[in-house]
Amino acid sequence: MSFLELDSLTKSYGSLTVVKEVNLSVEKGKLVCLLGPSGCGKTTTLRLVAGFVPANAGEIRVGGNTISSAHSTVPPEGRNMSMIFQSYALWPHMTVFENVAYGLKLRRLANTDVTKSVRTILSATQLLALENRYPGELSGGQQQRVSLARALVIKPEILLLDEPLSNLDANLREEMRFEIRRLHDEFRYTTVYVTHDQAEAMTTADIIVVMNDGRIEQAGSPEDIYERPETEFVARFIGGTNILSGTRRDSDDVVCEGGLVLRCGSGTAATTGKTAVSIRHHDIELSATKPRNSDTNVVLGTVTRQIYLGSHRDYLVSIAGGETVRTVAPVNVAIPVGQEVWLHFPPEKCRALAQ
């Protein structure tokens, strides 16, 4: 049995259902990232786990105990979780020390224990020198660390993070990603992390859960999600990709419009109707001449845009059937706009997607 379980969890506001029968299991000590575009229901899912919103149907269980169901909701304060908010939510009328100590004081710890625990976590987050400052006197990164310290100090059963890095500038954000992963490796709290940034998810997560329109599209390790997307949405959302649509011919082949036949090394095509093939930008081979020994997975196109990016060149090529394919090529492959060009889609890189 997993530690945290979401079972057919559903939340609606009036006629609008924002979380639709979500099922998810998280093992103890794992960091799960809920990833998706804004409005996909990931934040609502997190708030359901936190207990800020009651569920309409389904259940949330922690260690086998139901904490949310359609009938009852354990209030947030009864869940022994902690959370890091997008705004950090540091209490402006309390010092850094008081902010961090608050959760411990609620648990009626002796003062000496409080001081000890707070000092320990403040040194782990390099904040000890700032303990008497008010939040208003701290930089964004420092505030972020106070927020982390405050959440970690109470030794929560589950740690929740709601887009914790979105208010930081780019450099700090990258640094904090690794910091969060480091702290997770150190404390091993079961963690649910909400973000819309795939790089953040890749860096920090044990498991990435891609959400779209209130549903889980796919859950798996970062490698799974990137290498083996199961839906067109996941393929598009994680890393750049080209999606070509067509119909299935036999077990491995998909025929696209304009006659291009793509043999797919992985994935499953839809047996009837339209199906799709995904191939990453950098997996397409581009050449001025037709590659030999290739009957399938080869097509002639016209360069419509070519941009020099220093490390590589970025191409847009329009192919028969009217579709446009994006690809990259080494700097020395320089084909001017308007010229014809051959594209090769290696079968082992083509992934058939049923939806």
Partner: protein, 574 residues
């Protein structure tokens, strides 16, 4: 050590969520406060005063009884004139204070705000002292200066225009404050844009600045009209001697024994409807899209240099402040310390006789002071507490349907004091409740009257506190109430204290509803001032007025200065 603390930390804490019971209780309380009087008002308006039964006679009287029609006509005319006058005086003054290099601008703002604290009925009495046609100080000086005979006078406050003037003195701060705040917030780049396009200073003012503050002007004027329409004290003091009723005094006169409750209820209903219409108009004006520049923070407002016009401006502002604050206060001061109003001021006329009378001889004083401050304290505390919880529930939407609670808390703003007085009398002055004659009926009245103001202040304060600050407290393990106490309350402290003061000051000067609900044991200072005015004891009134004013200013001062209440070290986001 670490182990034991771990055990405690791991223990999952459960508590009872009080938000539903609180919500239910508040909904019940507010419904009773607001809806019950309105229900009885409607019920009685269909009852015959002569012998029970359902009747439309009361409503027919509304259009057929010439005294009622005249009272409504005069009241509406008076209110419109007050609105216009307030707007004409307050707008230029607000512009001078907000947008020019007029000296002493902060001081002027403070003085205008101070005039909020003055009870309007006290202002009206001050104007009796100043501008009664014969005994008024202004007229005495006028006759003395020009050696005129005793029948000559310069001003007469006991007229329709006199009444308009006396009320406008009290209502112009509404327009002033709204317009000045709007001018503060009109981003100067809007004006700069006009200048760059070649607009001259006056053109910019006319084409850009004024249209931008027009909504504030209109909104303020509507509030002034509303205040004038529903005011009881000033008309009772100035209109009755002049020989006419406005609607509030007319409704009051219907309570003379034997009371005509049904007619009073019916006569109150149009006042309620007009108020609702005016408030809706005000809301739609302020709420129009594209007009709101509130929140624009681009640069400091541009300041116009007055140059030689400075002296004209100073004269204008001084004139307004003298008429609205300086002269009335001086008149009250003088009357409190001299024998009778007409006496000249010299050593032989100075006397503490009125003070002695009020403080030691007049048996009603102590009771009234005690009642007034007790009710002020109770009302302010109760309203602030209710407003705090209601705005919490509403702004945090923690309970479905909490919006309704907000609506209930705002609704009394549409109920004029005298109408509420009628409604509460009908609701509670019966053998079932037996609240009439106790201070509780007054507490109910004051709570209902002050709730919208308290709620408005608290909910805007709440929207300044990010909900995540509270959620952080909850997820850390604090219950809803604990979070409210530990986190929200300290962050709202300044607003809470401000709201408390506001309600307190509003309560101790209330007269419109009080006049119908007070009895011997529930005398209030405002009522004994009114009673004393009927028997012409101006000296005693001025003494009581000074006590009332001193208490109001003391409360405001204490709230602003004592660090525990108002001061704070928070300079942070939140």
């Amino acid at each position: 050590m670490i182990m034991t603390s771990n055990v405690q930390v791991q223990g999952r804490r459960r508590g009872i969520d009080l938000s539903w019971p609180t919500f239910a209780l508040l909904t019940l309380v507010l419904s009773v406060l607001v809806l019950l009087p309105l229900f009885w008002l409607a019920f009685y308006s269909f009852r015959s005063d002569t012998g029970g039964g359902v009747t439309f006679d009361n409503f027919i009287a509304l259009v057929a009884d010439p005294t009622l029609v005249r009272a409504y006509g005069l009241a509406i005319g008076m209110a419109l004139a007050v609105g216009l006058l307030s707007c004409l005086v307050a707008t230029p003054m607000a512009w001078l204070v907000a947008r020019t290099d007029l000296p002493g601008r902060r001081m002027i703002r403070m003085l205008v705000t101070a005039s909020f604290v003055t009870p309007p009925f006290l202002g009206a009495i001050a104007y009796e002292i100043l501008a009664a046609p014969n005994s008024g100080i202004v007229n005495i000086i006028y006759r003395y200066l020009f050696r005129l005979d005793s029948s000559a006078y310069l001003v007469n406050i006991y007229t329709f225009t006199g009444l308009i003037f006396a009320i406008a003195c009290f209502t112009f701060p509404y327009v002033f404050t709204l317009v000045a705040n709007a001018l503060d917030k009109v981003p100067s780049d809007l004006e700069d844009a006009s200048s760059i396009l070649g607009g001259k200073a006056m053109t910019t003012l006319r084409k850009v600045t004024i249209p931008l503050v027009l909504p504030a002007m209109l909104a303020g004027t509507l509030i002034a009209i509303l205040q004038a329409l529903t005011m009881f004290g000033s008309p009772a003091i100035l209109a009755l001697p002049a020989g006419f009723h406005v609607i509030t005094t007319k409704i009051w006169s219907l309570f003379q024994f034997p009371p005509r409750l049904g007619l009073a209820a019916a006569a109150a209903l149009p006042l309620l409807i007009i108020t609702v219409i005016l408030l809706r108009a005000q809301k739609s004006i302020l709420g129009r899209k594209g007009y709101t520049v509130l929140g624009g923070k681009s640069g400091t407002p541009r300041i116009t240099e007055l140059g030689p016009w400075k002296w004209v401006a100073i004269a204008f502002v001084f004139c307004v402040l003298s008429l609205t604050i300086l002269l009335p206060y001086l008149a009250i001061l003088k009357t409190a310390f001299t024998g009778t109003v007409g006496d000249p001021i010299n050593l032989s006329t100075l006397t503490l006789r009125h003070w002695k009378f009020v403080l030691f001889e007049f048996s009603a004083t102590q009771l009234a002071l005690r009642n007034t401050f007790l009710l002020g304290f109770l009302t302010a505390t109760a309203v602030t507490a209710i407003a705090l919880i209601v705005s919490y529930l509403v702004t945090r939407r923690s309970v479905p349907g909490s919006g309704f609670l907000g609506l209930l808390a705002t609704a009394p703003v549409a109920i004029p004091g005298i109408v509420l007085g009628v409604g509460l009398f009908l609701s509670y002055a019966n053998p079932t409740f037996q609240l009439y004659g106790t201070i509780w009926i007054l507490l109910i009245a004051f709570m209902t009257i002050e709730l919208p103001a308290g709620y408005q202040q608290m909910s805007s304060a709440f929207s300044g506190v990010h909900p995540e600050l509270e959620e952080a407290g909850r997820i850390m393990g604090a219950s809803r109430l604990r979070t409210l106490w530990d986190i929200t309350a300290p962050l709202l402290r300044t607003s809470v204290v401000a709201a408390w003061c506001f309600v307190f000051v509003g309560t101790i000067r209330e007269l419109s509803a009080t006049i119908l609900l007070t009895t011997a044991n529930t005398k209030l200072v405002s009522v004994i001032i009114y009673d004393l005015n009927e028997s012409g004891d101006l000296g005693a009134i001025c003494v009581l007025g000074m006590i009332l004013l001193a208490a109001s200013f003391a409360v405001v001062f204490v709230a602003n200065r004592v660090p525990v209440l108002g001061g704070s070290q928070m300079n942070a986001r939140g």
